[in-house]
């Protein structure tokens, strides 16, 4: 079972590898990946450095080219593929059908993992991507329950990767247009969700308001913990009741499920967060390394260490964590 950690920079990559990641995933400094934030990601020079560093330490480097290519500058996406392959990346993480085809035809030996942005939630979709493009692994969307993950593990012969920890997308990834509805920019069209350029904070009489492109996302009393206005985690009104109609600000944490994920042969546990700092990546990686080593050593007697949970809770949105859709009662 692989521990796959995020890196938005060379220091984060080194932090992940020094603390026990088996593989690290990165993106390029442009629209070709779904964490297209200022100051983040690698260019072709640092990508080569990242590959060299990972390989020197016997680890793998995955490159996410997981947005959908745009007609007017399509070459930017095929260029990203060419650059990642030239840099000798071990794996490309891809969602766009045309890019999957491009890689399968031009670089038939290249290992491809189907990005979560491709929204493959069922065996028929997995069959399609496997037979059309020879993808080796599927990154499962965060909408599946543990029994559904188990069913897929039993009915398909493909490697499965699941999100283990980090920000929780509660919508099927790759099919969510909430952000462009409100701001004009979405993960699919711009590699961003609830982009910072559209965020405004306003304080009046001690009450802090967060707005996204003018829309009031939340209002915080002086004693309340504030959070970034990700629009699916806003507090809105339905029939007179003010609450979080979609989801509370919370992070996904599957530590409790680790023995089950191991037993079902899940190939890789993915930690979300290429936008996070090297210090965050180091702490998260250390906890998950210890947890995976513990489950590998004695899967039947695995217990979650309280210290791990404490560290993870501190690193979570609103200090809250959830099993998300993996647990049926979440739905």
């Amino acid at each position: 079972m692989e521990l796959l950690c995020p890196a938005g920079s060379i220091p984060a990559l080194k932090a992940a590898i020094e603390n026990g990641a088996d593989a690290v995933y990165v993106g390029l400094k442009d629209q070709t990946n779904a964490r297209h934030f200022a100051g983040l990601n690698l260019d072709s020079g640092t990508l080569a450095e990242a590959v060299t560093y990972a390989h020197q330490h016997g680890r793998k480097l995955h490159v996410a080219i997981n947005t959908f290519a745009q007609p007017q500058n399509y070459d930017q996406w095929t260029g990203a593929v060419d650059a990642a392959i030239k840099a000798k990346a071990d794996v490309l993480i891809v969602a766009d059908i045309s890019l999957l085809g491009y890689i399968a035809e031009r670089y038939p030996k290249q290992e491809i993992h189907l990005s979560v942005q491709a929204s493959a939630t069922n065996a028929a979709a997995i069959d399609f991507y496997q037979s059309q493009f020879g993808v080796k692994r599927i990154v499962l969307p965060r909408v599946l329950a543990m029994n559904q993950v188990r069913a897929l593990a039993h009915t398909t012969n493909i490697d499965l990767e699941v999100f283990a920890f980090g920000s929780l997308c509660i919508m099927v990834e790759g099919r969510c247009y909430l952000s462009s509805y409100m701001t004009g920019e979405s993960p699919n069209t711009a590699g961003v969700c609830s982009p910072a350029a559209h965020v405004r904070w306003e304080e009046e009489d001690g009450i802090l308001e967060s707005r996204l492109n003018g829309v009031l996302i939340d209002r915080f009393q002086p004693d309340e913990r504030t959070g970034y206005p990700t629009l699916c985690k806003g507090r809105f009104e339905v029939a007179g009741a003010v609450y979080h109609p979609l989801e509370e600000p919370t992070s996904l944490n599957t530590l409790d499920l680790l023995p089950q994920l191991y037993k079902e042969g899940i190939k890789s546990l993915k930690i979300e967060g290429r936008q996070r700092s090297p210090a965050y990546v180091a702490q998260i990686t250390r906890v998950w390394r210890a947890a995976i080593d513990s489950v590998l050593a004695a899967p039947d007697t695995f217990t979650v260490d309280a210290e791990w949970q404490r560290v993870l809770a501190n690193l979570s949105e609103g200090s809250q964590t959830t099993l998300g859709a993996y647990h049926r009662t979440w739905k």
Partner: protein, 292 residues
């Protein structure tokens, strides 16, 4: 320019569905999409009921397509999907890549629904090769995006092989989740939802704390708070949009169909209502209402 009715995205009682499709049969609509595309627990109409309605519509001269589920998770949902794909008579709208795989395996043509991520000419071209006969582009794309894409040289020799369809009226599906937000709004878990969405024939509205309409909750689907209404953009669709889709609303759908058909050339523009939007087509945030 042809007009279509998308699948009913809300959960309506059987009688209301039958009466809606009776009206559709008597209307001037060209194409009707039928079937449950949102939640497999909704069973007011079963597959055979939909097929009966499909036959009735075909006899009334309509082209009928069967729409399939967007978020497919359970093996039982895949079995139902196969029944739709194997119907033997009607074109199928694939709303998940899994459906495209099944239809392609069976050498059957398909409509690629708006939730299929086709954002560029190369993906579109591949879909045509797989049997796509009609493309409903993602709701978040603009008229410029569509025009540019269709002008690409690799599309030219297949441009006659498919039609383009645009979601042009109704609350837009913007996201799908494992969670049922309508059940959540009634403090129920999805497993004990008691099909409470049948109480909300146009979904449940979500407003910001200062009163701006934000979303509409429709079971596992989140829709745009505002109603997309491209009636005044119809003339700008000439040459790029072959089929204009209206998404059924509980009230006024056929009146709007009539108004749309009157305004194909721009001869009968209509004032927009307060909660109408048209941003996406105009390359703006989706929720924007732009007045020409």
């Amino acid at each position: 320019m042809k007009f279509s009715l998308g699948p009913v995205l809300y959960f309506w009682p059987k009688k209301q569905m039958q009466s809606f499709y009776q009206q559709a049969a008597e209307s001037n609509v060209d194409i009707v999409y039928l079937g449950e595309a949102v939640c497999s627990k909704r069973r007011e109409l079963k597959f055979d009921d939909y097929m009966d309605i499909a036959h009735m519509l075909r006899e009334a001269g309509k082209q009928v397509c069967l729409s399939t589920m967007t978020l497919l998770e359970a093996p039982s949902e895949l079995r139902e999907l196969r029944r739709y794909c194997d119907n033997g008579e009607f074109l199928v709208e694939a709303n998940d890549v899994g459906a495209i795989g099944i239809l392609n395996d069976n050498k059957l043509p398909f409509v690629a629904g708006a939730a299929i991520s086709i954002y560029n000419h190369h993906s579109l071209r591949r879909m045509v090769n797989l049997g796509m006969q009609r493309w409903v582009m993602p709701v978040e794309l603009s008229g410029d995006w569509l025009g540019g894409l269709l002008n690409e040289s690799i599309i030219q020799d297949v441009r006659d092989c498919f039609e383009t369809e645009l979601f042009s009226f109704g609350h837009m599906p913007l996201a799908w989740s494992a969670r049922c937000f309508t059940a959540r709004s009634e403090q129920r878990h999805k497993d004990q939802c008691e099909l409470c969405c049948i109480k909300y024939p146009d979904g449940r509205v979500v407003d910001s704390q200062d009163g701006q309409r934000v979303f509409v909750l429709n079971g596992v689907q989140t829709q745009s708070g505002d109603r997309y209404n491209l009636i005044n953009q119809l003339p700008s669709m000439r040459g790029t949009v072959d089929v204009v889709r209206l998404s059924p609303q509980s009230q006024g759908t056929f009146e709007w169909l009539h108004k749309f058909q009157q305004n194909i050339t721009g001869a009968a523009p209509q004032p927009l209502e307060a909660n109408d939007c048209n941003g996406y087509w105009l390359k703006l945030a989706g929720m924007v209402q732009h007045l020409d």
